[in-house]
Amino acid sequence: MSQPVLSVSGLAKDYGNGQGCFDIDFELYEGEVLCIVGESGSGKSTLLSTLAGRLSADAGSVRFRDRAGSSHELTTLAEAERRRLARSEWGFVTQHARDGLRMNVSAGANVSERLMALGQRHYGQLRETAAQWLEKVEISRERLDDRPTAFSGGMQQRLQIARNLVTQPRLVFMDEPTGGLDVSVQARFLDLLRRLVHDTGIAVIMVTHDLGVTRLLAQRTLVMQQGRVVEAGLTDQILDDPQHPYSQLLVSSILQA
């Protein structure tokens, strides 16, 4: 079997006062989607940011295998190297699109930025790729030259997704990516992500409140409470036969549409 893209062991981020995330262990393989669920303040977003190296870890190890098969220890990586990997090997889709976009340049420039950072210079090609990605996330290519400030919140989120996925990264972190989307757009987004995972083998770690999204998209789920993983396993097992009291509460609280 192939090697994991990401191997996490004993990871902790301690804010003091009991806040943060602790004793995190898991492995993620190519083509896998892992959802992290739990209530607000359970440490989901802290874990995501610590994994991505946006927050410094206080203990443990996060090993990432890049395309070439080299392994990197992310908790001790130099900032310049982390930035290089962040640009070429992974993406980070933030909860609030404004945090993940450059609001003062055009939509096209937002999508092209990572391609240019990887050395693509052909203006016509960059523009065409950007236009195709706008269409993939259901934004008309006629909006290519508009700034994100002129977009609705849902459009901004889709633009952020296009901006992150355009270089087909190996690993994408997503923090509540569907939170601000209309349900119709959310469905399109889920389908898009599912196809990308299938076609390109990217691995995805997604923080979400939405167990419906989790069921449809993620093979695997971590349930967090008070900074710790209280249950981990196959998504359908956790949703259909939750073991931990908190997982049972979470699953029994879902509204049936």
Binding site: A187, L190, D191, L234, D241
Partner: protein, 233 residues
């Protein structure tokens, strides 16, 4: 006789933490072996644990004790101890599950939903869609529906899309949870025929068939799921 499923001494107790930790024993010391070409019908009174056993075999439910060995790509994998990544591989290639309910991403067409397992097997899009069309046609889903998402389909149509999706990849083991429930006689006959064909290609089938005619038509053996002792009281 080539064994494909070897489940030994399974036990399963549901603990309901919302109900002050109420413990519901459902399976106790259940063992089941299934060979290639067999179709085992699970029987027993409602609540005896037929569905629980089927879901445990799929690792959808966690068992409290026992082992579930599945013959997967030339070796045995114990589903009770396998890591999620391994279970996903067993499900993709070896162990299929057909339920009555279709759970899919909205806005994806029926054709793509049915074709997806073949894409995961490495078929080309064209070939996968071609086969998906053939399966849908066989299950009497008209071609005008193929490009539509099944959300608006009738219950019976959705169920047939689900059967096509669950059976299209020729996996060596199929678990079937009332695959013919709520189908009309004509479609039930098609599903019975599909299950027979699966047996003929050497697949091992385990199913719950409430409809006695279906059971008689497809099952080679009956397995009466024993009641857990606490439930006998």
């Amino acid at each position: 006789m080539k064994l494909l499923i070897d489940a030994q001494q399974l036990s399963k107790t549901f603990v309901l933490h919302q109900q002050d930790g109420l413990a519901l024993p459902v399976l106790a010391d259940v063992s089941l072996q299934v060979a290639a070409g067999e179709c085992v019908a699970l029987t027993g009174p409602s609540g005896a644990g037929k569905s629980t056993l089927l879901k445990a075999l799929y690792a959808n439910y966690l068992v409290g004790g026992g082992s579930i060995r599945i013959h997967h790509q030339g070796s045995w994998v114990d589903m009770t101890t396998a890591r999620p990544h391994e279970i996903a591989s067993v499900r993709r290639h070896t162990l299929g599950y057909v339920s009555q309910f279709l759970r899919v991403i909205p806005r994806v067409s029926a054709l793509d939903i049915v074709a997806e397992p073949l894409l995961e097997w490495g078929y080309s899009m064209q070939e996968a869609q071609q086969q998906a069309g053939a399966w849908l046609a066989r299950l009497n889903i008209g071609e005008r529906l193929w490009q539509l998402p099944p959300a608006t389909f009738s219950g019976g149509e959705q169920q047939r899309v689900n059967i096509a999706r669950g059976m299209i990849a020729p996996r060596p083991i199929l678990l079937l949870d009332e695959p013919t429930a709520s189908l009309d006689a004509a479609n039930r006959a098609v599903v019975v025929e599909l299950m027979r064909e699966a047996r003929q290609r050497g697949a091992a089938l385990v199913g719950i068939f409430h409809d006695e005619d279906t059971r008689t038509a497809v099952a080679s053996r009956i397995f009466d799921v024993p009641l857990a002792p606490a439930l006998c009281a």
